[in-house]
Amino acid sequence: MASDLQSLDETRDALGRAGYLAGESTALVSYLAAHLGKPVLVEGPAGVGKTELAKALARATDRKLIRLQCYEGLDEAKALYEWNYRKQLLRIQVEASDAGWNDVRDDIFGEEFLLPRPLLSAITEEQPVVLLIDEIDKTDQEFEAMLLEVLSDFQVSIPELGVVEAKTHPLVLLTSNNSRELTEALKRRCLYLWLDYPDVERELEIVRLHAPELSEDMARKLVEVVHMVRNLDLKKPPSIAESIDWARALLLLGAEDLDGDVLERTMSVIVKHRTDLDLVAERVGVKLTDGLIGSRRAG
């Protein structure tokens, strides 16, 4: 059990202190995850703070964060454990002359020769940790199946060694960009959390939290522009992290006001494709120059 996440309100506060403004459902699911000891499957578009949530949880609970980045072709030797074969070989050679076979066999498959990979180390840590399995949808279904044992029973079966059980229960977060439907079996073991882009007010809070020097007016204008950009059909809509970056960039440049010119010069911070750049300049830049953004709400 996480000590800092005793109640829903405490969870929200702890996340807030860790620099993460959690929405209602985010706080609730985090609290449930800590309370029930179940993994959380976080889905949502890229850049809404899925990975950041895991980091914030680690900070909030003062735990170590162990991260497993998934990719196509990830296998258990890289995710679970591996035998340190060099060391085993050395051992065999040292012992070969005078020890009996039985001694050597028992010996070389001991924990001494085991290289723990993220999943195994997450459950064998002395102190509870936060385990982040990032972009689970990038792996194949076989890998998912392998995860099931770890996620539901918090144990790993190693044929030569037996079952390694968890010393402590990690707080597990799995993130997915929804590029592939995950298996039912995996979903069944998880709590589900859908994260979406925040509304203007919340994103404004987030930007203000991370770039407090930016004036209220500028920040609001900036967030409104970002929202407008997200509504266009872009290859890659700007993420929350990019709005924060943009806010910082504007600060650095000492921009007084967010107008068409400033947008033109700095929009590469939030838009990363050439075709997208053109589209944004055409649709949003014009409105900014005409002063259509920000005035409505301010007036």
């Binding site: 609290y31 196509e72 590029s179 709590l191 589900y192 859908w194 075709t275």
Partner: protein, 466 residues
């Protein structure tokens, strides 16, 4: 809003809810239910939002599921409360009134009511309860005019019209001062509907039979762009499937690289002597795709869909050449690479990038000959050909032999037909001539079927070296 029944009665209620969810097609297993109970232990039941979120985190495992849960949750607890009320003979118009806002409350005239409602809807801070009270006032005022039709849906619309409420239009440049935000309006309508239902139940002392959710309601609120997004999502999936398949397809032993680490590891079982070689797993290869898309008039309705498939394919694959054809074939790879937006692409294709089109009738035979002529040197067993078309040749020679040759040169050939299987080979459709040469043929005119196609090509199984 509806208070949760006491703890003693909760478990059976939740099971009933789960049952309704299953009827709506959600997979709610016992383990999910146990989780739900566990979660409900941990949150306070007095907050409707927390209660719902706890259920949603444990029962709904996708966004669609969440949407269904939301609808069923509302309906279920509304009905549960009403049932209790009907059983105990509690009526809202008698004796103690919950918030002193009865049907005969303040006698507001319609004009004032109209303004109040509009104000409440335009302001963002109106609470749920406040909206509900306004909904009741509106019903009361409406009832005095004596126009109730008895059908709830009709009444809701009439009330809305009487109040002169209209949603903000999405395209308008100038904001209409009278318009109210759409989602708030929908919320208000929901309240009106619910209050009307409540009144009906009170009158008749019985619950109307519960109806399954309408398809329209279940679907997430979407715009036309969403369809395109759905196609893109499915195609991205297809890219993965094709990529992993290609690896198997190529055979294992040709030019493999020995994996020293794993070989040494296996050699332990033979005392450190590497008897058995282990090879590096292959990186997935990049599939080469050739897509041919029929854009003639006989498939007009499907061709928008096909073009969006093509558009999505171009987003996902880099080694992709696409062709459109009617009577003759033309390559449009470049158009897709140049233009990003779907509208621009379809405009370019129907306009200048133009299909060589003389009669407007498809000539599949000629298309094969020309296609083979263009790409014959590039086709190899690693390439996949996908044909999107209805195989209606307008009575011309299907040139099945040419197609067979083409299919033989390409590794795999798939055909997606926008007509139901029932219509194949009727009239001038010559599907039967082509079908035996394809790796697979599919009906395909919706995203669901496209998904089926993607699943099917994964299930066809890798072709292993014997």
């Amino acid at each position: 809003m509806p208070a949760a029944p006491g703890p003693s009665g909760m478990a059976p209620r939740l099971l009933e809810l789960a049952d309704e969810l299953r009827n709506e097609g959600m997979a709610v297993g016992t383990s999910e239910l146990l989780d739900a109970f566990g979660a409900l232990d941990a949150v306070s039941w007095t907050s409707r939002e927390d209660f719902f979120e706890a259920l949603s985190a444990t029962l709904a495992k996708s966004q669609e599921d969440r949407r269904v849960l939301e609808l069923v949750f509302d309906r279920f607890f509304f009905r549960a409360v009403e049932r209790e009320a009907a059983e105990h003979g509690v009526k809202e118009n008698e004796g103690d009134q919950p918030e002193g806002q009865g049907a005969q409350g303040e006698r507001l005239d319609l004009e004032a009511l109209r303004d109040r409602i509009r104000e409440a809807l335009q302001g963002q801070d109106g609470s749920d309860g406040e909206l509900r009270d306004l909904a009741r006032l509106a019903i009361a005022a409406f009832g005095r005019q004596g126009e109730g039709s008895g059908v709830i849906g009709v009444d809701v619309q009439r009330i809305r019209r009487t109040l002169g409420l209209k949603g903000e239009s999405q395209s308008a440049q100038l904001p209409d001062p009278d318009a109210v935000p759409r989602d708030r309006l929908r919320q208000f309508e929901g309240h009106v509907r619910r209050e009307l239902e409540r009144a009906l139940i009170e009158r008749t002392q019985a619950l109307p039979p519960s109806k399954p959710l309408r398809e329209l309601d279940r679907a997430l609120p979407t715009g036309p762009a969403q369809d395109l997004a759905a196609v893109h999502r499915v195609v991205a999936q297809m890219r993965r499937r094709l990529a992993t398949q290609g690896r198997e397809h190529r055979g294992r032993n040709r030019s493999s690289v020995v994996d020293v680490r794993r070989t040494m590891r296996t050699s332990l079982s033979t005392g450190g002597v590497p008897l058995e070689l282990r090879y590096r797993p292959r990186r997935p290869r990049r599939p080469e795709l050739y897509v041919l898309c029929d854009v003639s008039t006989s498939v007009t309705s499907a061709s928008v869909f096909f073009l969006s498939v093509l558009h999505a394919l171009h987003d996902s694959f880099r080694k992709l050449r696409s062709f459109v054809f009617v009577e003759r074939i033309s390559e449009v790879t470049e158009v897709f690479e140049r233009e990003r937006s779907f509208e621009a692409v379809s405009r370019a294709i129907s306009g200048d990038a133009g299909v060589a089109d003389i009669s407007g009738y498809t000539d599949y035979g000629r298309v094969w000959v020309e296609f083979l002529d263009k790409v014959v040197d590039d086709l190899d067993p690693r390439s996949s050909v996908i044909v999107l078309g209805d195989a209606r040749t307008n009575g011309r020679d299907p040139h099945a032999k040419v197609f067979a040759h083409l299919a033989e040169r390409a590794g795999r050939t798939f055909w997606m037909n926008p007509e139901p299987r029932l219509y194949w080979n009727y009239g001038d459709s010559v599907m039967a001539a082509y079908e035996p040469h394809c790796t697979g043929v599919f009906e395909c005119w919706t995203t669901a079927q496209l998904e089926g196609f993607v699943n099917a090509i994964a299930d066809l199984g890798p072709v292993r070296k014997s």
